[in-house]
Amino acid sequence: MSHESATQHRSTPLLIATSAFIFIWLIVAAFPFFWTMWGSFKIQADFFSKSDWSNAVTGVNTTARYGHAFTGVAYEGAWVQQDFWRAAVNSLIVTVSVVVISLTFGTLGGYALARSTARYAFALLIVALIFRAMPHITLVSGYLLPFFKLNIWGYLPTAIIVLVAINQPFTLWMLRSFFMNVPRELDESALVDGCTRGQAFCYVIMPVMWPGVITTGLFSFLLAYNDFAVTATILNQHNQTMVPKIASFLGTTQTEGNVMFAVASVVSATAPLFVLVLVFQRNIVSGLTAGAVKG
């Protein structure tokens, strides 16, 4: 109620100014994505036209070649001819594995670290933080030689292990802070009520932790999904995930149409993220605030 009356009292010029600002900001932020999406249904001669940029909007050359201003030829080329579907499957395997493994160790470890009174618990966290602060590529370069020697370079599980190693410190920190906000008395109460430590964790603590698990899981998902440094250096041509695959499309622009494969794959790779964030937005928001503000 008071909120409404407060907005009524706000002056009109201020309202216009703020609305205009938000509108402009939205366009600036969203434009590149919509531009790419629009362009992905054109051919290279239009979207990367050197003569007239407006060709990208009108699609003159696309109409000339295919009789229509929109064509799915870039998608067909990427997904079918260039086996982008295989990269999508690989991405799915890598991200799901990374999320599941990180969350499993993250919840168990985070819970233990949150409840531990031992002095080394905090030392462990600090070490983890330092590990997280390092650029990913430094880890990768260290891993390469042993991976070659062990003959495990190029395979998906190898990339999964490295990504989990990079992601684990973050999940530990994040989940630990969520567990810290779950009062210790809840554990104790469950213990008195007849639970073992494990049952208390499963039946009492975890149900309260879902927002934290979902938030952490989403960030883990994004890290694995968007990773380039690890997947580009660890995986062989056949096992590439989406991001290095897109990069390889861009690296071969000499061939006509290849750059359009990249554009189409970028749009394909971005779409699931939108869905994911939209589905989990409630949980993310409550998870983020639950982690930040002490209940």
Partner: protein, 362 residues
Amino acid sequence: MNQTTSSVSIRGLDLHFGSVKVLTDLDIEIGEGEFLVLLGSSGCGKSTLLNCIAGLLDVSGGEIHIKGRNVTWDEPKDRGIGMVFQSYALYPQMTVRGNLSFGLKQAKVAKSEIESRVKRAAEVLQIEALLERKPAQLSGGQRQRVAIGRALVRDVDVFLFDEPLSNLDAKLRASLRVEIKRLHQQLHNTMIYVTHDQIEAMTLADRIAIMKDGAVQQLGTPHEIYSSPVNRYVAAFIGSPSMNFFSGSLSGDNFVSDTMTLSMDRYAFDGTGRQNGRVELGVRPEHVACDEAARDMPFQVEVDVDVVEPMGSDTQVWGSLQGEEFRFRVDGQSTLKTGDKVLVGIDPARTCLFDMTTELRL
């Protein structure tokens, strides 16, 4: 009440975290059906002791027996205890019914039995209407009732309360306090109750254990603790406003200080005898007579009034006796005001004498 058999017995209990000693060599026998209150300021080890009894902390030495069984190394669930926490610690994702029945389901109690026990506990605590609600939809008092109910349904011998009323406002605290007392009279279970609130301790307890630095200072009935505190700490801790202390010395039958000389011939000396030396005289503010009433007292003195605090039913007066602070309590109708001089009287029989060095009662 049958106190011949002991319900909970704590024998030589030690607890230390590294080099920090939290509890040292505690011995407490708690009778069947007794209401014992562990009272002390924060950090005295009272909650720690309760957690040891509950089995939530591993002890460093000594034994805990419940119902004649050594439970020192048993899991909390196997000790036959129910516990109520300060922060309620209700399971937020479960309804009130879920909260009450969770422990019973864990113990694989039959469905019909769970049903009837939950019903009975809900009746006792008057939370029948709330059974299908989630804890977030309850007020503080209701939540604490549910927390008590969760201990109640488990049908245990010993109830442990860890400052259960500290999170409630003053009015609710008073009413729930009475309810806990009524509950105890109804159930006759052994109850161990931790609090830092001396009113709760005095009103609820059969016996109070005053703790300081991980040791029990005095264990006795509320009356014993109030009228014959064993040492200066207990005397100062119990009573609000707290006791006045005057330092002086004991020579023969007289307490002598710069400001007063009291004949202590009516004072009930402790067994330790009455050796002369430096002592402190403790006088409770509520045992100081004022004005007319003071004239009947064996010892009288004139006091300057510094601050007057009317409390309604009575008025606290902060006076000074030649520079020494002197608190006393007068009737609420009193017209005393700052700057007045008033005659006060003390009955030595109701005072306490403490040895200056050992701080023990003489």
